[in-house]
Symmetry: C2
Subunit: 355 residues, 2 copies
């Protein structure tokens, strides 16, 4: 096993990936929750977080964002870290892995062809009415998962959803899990207090605080985001193995899958993330999955300490950590036989070209 890959969970073996056998899908979505100051680093200002998902996938497909004059970056205390989309782009291009975009409800739509699963973005979760049609989104995702799984042997699913760890926290709590203080975040200092406050206000507004839900989609409807039911639906509909390429947000996807179908088999589903999430002292992805089921997690370390790029080095201080399926994209590249040094060199080259 490549030393860059660490495994957490019950299954020891890594998925096998041959040439032309993988499809990487990035699901984009927004909620108005990301407009709250201090919650997310996925955009230079809270207002600009509306553009981040579209700009991320435009960067990957078109080589530059067309909806924004600038590439998304995370800026905390003057330290700038590039969007994880550069990691995803570099890894997928080097490994020659096909990439598709699906819209689950992004506020700004990308200027490229994409799969439309749902149009409407989510609201602020404090309304307790964050997503108006989660079951429809899940069913659309399920149809798409079934269709796409006929075109590949393995689907990797990344996401770009600003403030997505807050909405993931909401769904996990609403489904009865102990998730306070356990979700990750895109800034070095994880604003757990603010996240908990927003989720509690949302749960209270929805009138579902503390009790067992009759319908699991109520959790998403009240305090979730459109990405969660879309990705859960794709995973539920797929006939081939699925790797959820993301951090603690993907545990909310697993929680929804389990709630919709208590017999759901996690044998053919894994989570792939970065070492920045796996080692994050402000969150605990293993504690979250441990409550849900026997779910294997792969964590990939790009060894950015070996890099001379200051933006990438800021990942080591807790900026960004994960997103746009960066960890999963690197895993796919490693499983295609590429050494991490080559993947990192490509990421550095891309950073040099576009920033």
């Amino acid at each position: 096993m490549d030393q860059a890959i660490k495994t957490y969970g019950s299954i020891e073996k890594l998925p096998e990936i041959g040439k032309n056998e993988v499809l990487f899908l990035c699901v984009i979505a927004s909620t108005l929750t990301s407009r709250r100051p201090g919650l997310t680093g996925a955009g230079a200002t809270p207002e600009l977080t509306d553009y981040t998902p579209a700009a991320d996938v435009e960067l990957i497909v078109n080589g530059e964002p067309t909806c924004l004059p600038e590439i998304p970056q995370t800026i905390v205390d003057g330290a700038i870290a590039p969007t994880p989309a550069v990691i995803t782009k570099a890894a997928l291009e080097l490994a020659d892995i096909p990439f598709l975009v699906a819209d689950a409800g992004a506020a700004v739509k990308p200027k490229l062809p994409y799969i439309k699963i749902n149009d409407k973005p989510g609201s602020d979760i404090t309304t307790g009415q964050a997503v108006s049609n989660p079951e429809f989104i899940f069913q659309q995702g399920k149809i798409m998962g079934k269709l796409l799984s006929r075109l590949t042997h393995h689907i990797f699913i990344g996401e770009s959803t600003p403030a997505g760890t807050t909405t993931a926290l909401g769904v996990l709590q609403a489904l009865g899990y102990d998730a306070w203080g356990k979700v990750s975040g895109s800034t070095p200092e994880n604003p757990h207090h603010l996240k908990q406050e927003l989720v509690e206000r949302g749960l209270k507004a929805a009138g579902i605080h503390g009790q067992k839900l009759q319908d699991p989609f109520q959790a998403v409807q009240a305090v979730g985001d459109p990405m969660i039911p879309a990705v859960a639906g794709i995973a539920a509909g797929s006939k081939v193995p699925v790797t959820l390429a993301g951090g603690t947000q993907m545990t909310a996807v697993c929680a929804l899958l389990k709630a919709v179908d208590p017999e759901f088999l996690f044998d053919d589903l894994t989570i792939a993330t970065t070492s920045f999430v796996a080692r994050d002292e402000t969150s605990d992805i293993n504690y979250l999955t441990g409550q849900i089921d026997d779910i294997t997690i792969f964590a990939v370390d790009p060894f950015f300490e070996k890099s001379e790029n200051d933006g990438l080095k800021n990942y080591l201080n807790g900026s960004v950590k994960e997103g746009v399926g960066a960890g999963g994209a690197m895993l796919a590249a490693l499983l295609r036989g590429l050494p991490m040094n080559d993947v990192r060199a490509r990421i550095e080259k891309l950073c040099g070209e576009i920033f």
Copy 2:
């Protein structure tokens, strides 16, 4: 060669299709031209033609149309013929061929996940401003063709575009071809006079009658439909062989491809249609392609004279003829080794179930 397949053109060999090697894509679009009475049979009334593309693909993916209470049928002088979507659905399901939908600008959007290439439907061609952004649609199609061709070995592209032979006539004439009276149609009596009148009015309104166009996209912009640049773009972007599954409308796609790139190689591009189009005495697909390039046409005969279904028998009288890639879907099934008798039996079974 299966006796149901006839070949017209220079290439004698049929494409080879293995299991899991084909993707069938249906591109849907509308123009207000289809609201003109007497022009098309693709809908019970001119107004209902807005729903036909969405209902067709909903029937194929979901088993029933959700946007309409009824399955689209062609009714001429009391004779009812089912939408060709039933042929496509039966052939693809029997042959286990994956199916995706792309929207190039349908008036009514289907209730299923689809690839969004373009949103806005076209106007009535007599305005001389039928499609507002044909080059953008072509470029989006090109990106999608490149992406999709990484997931399969061969792309079949069908279409559902009511009144599409009229807009195809417009594009062919605007690009300098002799197409008057040569395009096919969905009714036994082909309203050539009306089609020519509408195209001439459109060309006149656009001020491009008779002269050589500086920009080939002007032809689509003036008197075309959004399907034509979308399908041409996908074909231009694809790195794998493409079969255009349709009748004379696909000759307009070929004409646009040739106009955009005079060096375009038609070696890896073929047209697959039905025997109803190939033998149609009111149109001449071979005459049209012959003016453009060395383009092979496959025509598939489902032998509906052997059927006891009255709706299918109406195809023998010139109703419907083709659409939703019916001819190409049958070709793909035959190339996967299925006998035409089995394909026809499945079509009849499906007609029995849904009508």
